[in-house]
């Protein structure tokens, strides 16, 4: 992702030739003309790619530049040497190990609970009877419209009353119920072929078995989508961890960045970038390998005003 050469518009190899269309003119003649027709489009595409890659490139290089090369003008595009000093220094300035641990715990536990609760609730809303079920479903979806910022204050007070300020439970609990995940999974469950469930019922399978051995195995892509979106949301969450934790050792990574940023305007950019890289890298990798699920999940999540 951070490799700028990937933007190079590599034309697909011999598309016309590969298509095997006997009527098509020989490959080498056709392609240049298509390219010439679209040269401005390609230029634009490269420019757009650069606008979004350059900040990431700056992040990557600055994190490993020596101070001498960061604080120099004109700007050095290619560092002449790479150093790990910034990373090491980040660890000295703030308990980065603790930040990483906290982020991992909150993300792993929070996302897992979120997915599990959503699966059970989705199954209930899809297949189990209940008086007033429709009404409950609407009430659940209505939660998507409650703006997150309006709930911060009261949730903080609630967690205070429960004695959960500055604890993992306090970090995790308020975000665990997911109306959107439940909705998405319910829609998916309802789309599954009903014959399978009828067969399972005839076989005497109870609801728990129907869920675990029939519904879930057929829903892996949908569950993966919900899980990935949950992981991204938990990892990147900012305002709630900022409020609910108050000791350095309970902070998560995004909040931890604030400890690397000095308030007197004399920020040590190399160190700050090294910390930022640690925040960004895991989600970049997740995105790289699961792009398709994440895009459907996040665009879908916005469909419910989920964020």
């Amino acid at each position: 992702m951070a490799n700028p050469t990937t933007t190079r518009p590599s034309p697909p190899p011999n598309r016309a030739a590969a298509s095997g269309d006997p009527g098509a003119p020989p490959g080498p003649r056709r392609r240049p003309s298509a390219l010439r027709r679209n040269w401005w489009g390609l230029l634009l595409l490269i420019a757009v790619g650069l606008v979004f890659l350059i900040p990431l490139y700056m992040l990557l290089t600055t994190a490993f530049k020596t101070n001498a090369e960061i604080y120099t003008w004109p700007l050095k595009w290619l560092p002449s040497q790479f150093t790990g000093d910034n990373l090491a220094q980040a660890w000295e300035i703030a308990p980065f190990g603790a930040f990483i641990k906290n982020s991992l715990i909150v993300t792993a536990v929070g996302a897992t609970l979120k997915v599990v609760l959503a699966i059970f609730a989705a199954y209930a809303f899809a297949f189990l009877p209940f008086p007033g079920k429709k009404w409950l479903f609407v009430a659940m979806l209505g939660a998507l419209m409650v703006p997150g910022h309006v709930t911060l204050l009261v949730n903080y007070i609630t967690m205070g009353n429960l004695g959960m300020i500055n604890t993992y439970a306090g970090l995790i609990l308020p975000g665990v119920a997911s109306a959107f995940g439940t909705f998405l999974l319910r829609q998916h469950f309802l789309s599954l072929p009903s014959e399978v469930f009828e067969a399972a019922e005839v076989d005497g399978a109870g609801h728990l078995r129907r869920l675990l051995s029939f519904t879930l195995p057929m829903s892996i892509p949908a569950v993966a989508t919900v899980a990935l979106v949950a992981v991204i949301d938990e990892w990147n969450n900012f305002v709630w961890p900022l409020i609910i934790t108050n000791s350095v050792n309970m902070r998560t990574l995004p909040i931890g960045l604030m400890y690397l940023k000095s308030n007197d305007g004399l920020t040590n950019w190399g160190v700050l970038m090294a910390g930022t890289l640690i925040v960004v890298l895991p989600m970049l990798l997740v995105f790289l390998f699961a792009q398709r699920y994440i895009v459907t999940g996040l665009t879908g999540a916005a469909a419910g005003n989920g964020r």
């Binding site: 489009g41 009261v154 609630t158 900012f238």
Partner: protein, 317 residues
């Protein structure tokens, strides 16, 4: 907890009961279904009730009180918080900054997003890679993005200085100059969000009926005409959806402000969401913050209500 209920269900297994008992069996099964529903859905519903619905009610009450988190009881003071908010010039400024933020970010993201989508829909070589790159900022932490851009805006060593030097000017002190701070944050916000808009528009464009576009082209419409007269109107449901969701997101922008400016300099970047946070958690003005929260709630509810009105009418021209 549900396992126990499960084993009882399986006793109904297989055998067809005599017709007389069938109704009774069905009732029994139904009741078991109720119990299971409660067990399966309860955690989710309870958490939503406690952390999404209760806050609205409690916030409304807190907004009528004066409290600092510490004194034992919130003191009821009626509508005083609201009247002083509405009379306060600094709150007017907060509303103004929020309005500018929302209009600029949503407006520019939508225009750039639809243009990007039009570019991506041409399926040039390399498009899928660039689409992925443009969407990336949506996936990574807003706080991290804010840090990177803070460096880009550094007047001495930042990338933005390159552009200013190109035209022979000095870079401004972006984040510490009251005139430049808001534009800086708006740029970051647009940069972060435009990829999402582009992807939603791209999906919309790919879903358009191809025969209509074909017909327009056969009628002799140029690409710009097709885009403006055919594609854009057909995309109006997508546009409407994006206006609503992006507006709600823009109203709640927070991490960029927290990292880059803390609402300053001179409150020039204090939006409604920063104001709510600042009043409660930096100044312990609980009631005042709650009243500002109600203002945000009302604004967003009105926007959401509009959404439902329009969606029913199906925005199509």
């Amino acid at each position: 907890m549900s396992v126990e209920l499960e084993t009882t269900t399986s006793t109904v297994r297989g055998a067809a009961p005599p017709p007389a008992d069938r109704a009774a069996a069905q009732r029994k099964r139904r009741r078991r279904g109720y119990a299971l529903f409660a067990a399966f859905a309860f955690p989710n519903l309870a958490l939503i009730a406690v952390f999404a619905y209760w806050p609205i009610i409690a916030n409304l009450y807190l907004s009528l009180t004066n409290w600092d988190f510490i004194s034992p009881e919130p003191l009821f003071i009626g509508l005083t918080n609201y009247t002083s908010l509405l009379a306060s010039p600094s709150f007017h400024k907060v509303l103004w900054v929020s309005l500018v933020w929302v209009v600029v970010v949503v407006g520019i993201s939508l225009v750039l997003g639809v243009l990007l989508a039009a570019l991506f829909s041409k399926k040039l070589p390399g498009t899928s890679v660039v689409t992925g790159i443009v969407f990336t900022p949506h996936v990574v932490s807003g706080a991290a993005i804010a840090v990177v851009w803070l460096f880009i805006f550094d007047p001495n060593y930042g990338l933005a200085r390159v552009l200013f030097n190109l035209v022979g000017a000095d870079s401004p002190n972006w984040t510490t100059d009251a005139d430049w701070a808001l534009p800086a944050l708006l740029i970051v916000s647009i940069w972060k969000g435009v990829g999402f808009v582009a992807i939603v528009y791209l999906a919309g464009i790919q879903g358009l009926p191809s025969d209509v576009l074909e017909a327009a082209r056969l009628d002799g419409a140029g690409p710009v005409q097709v885009f403006l007269r055919v594609i854009l109107p057909l995309l109006s449901p997508t546009t409407f959806f994006l206006v609503i969701t992006q507006t709600i997101a823009a109203f709640q922008a927070f991490d960029i402000i927290a990292i880059m400016t803390d609402g300053g300099p001179a409150s020039s970047t204090t939006t409604l969401s920063w104001f709510i946070y600042e009043q409660a958690f930096m100044r312990s003005n609980v009631g005042y913050s709650a009243a500002a929260g109600t203002v945000m709630f009302v604004i967003l509810m009105v926007i959401t209500a509009l959404q439902f009105r329009f969606v029913e009418k199906k925005v199509h021209y």
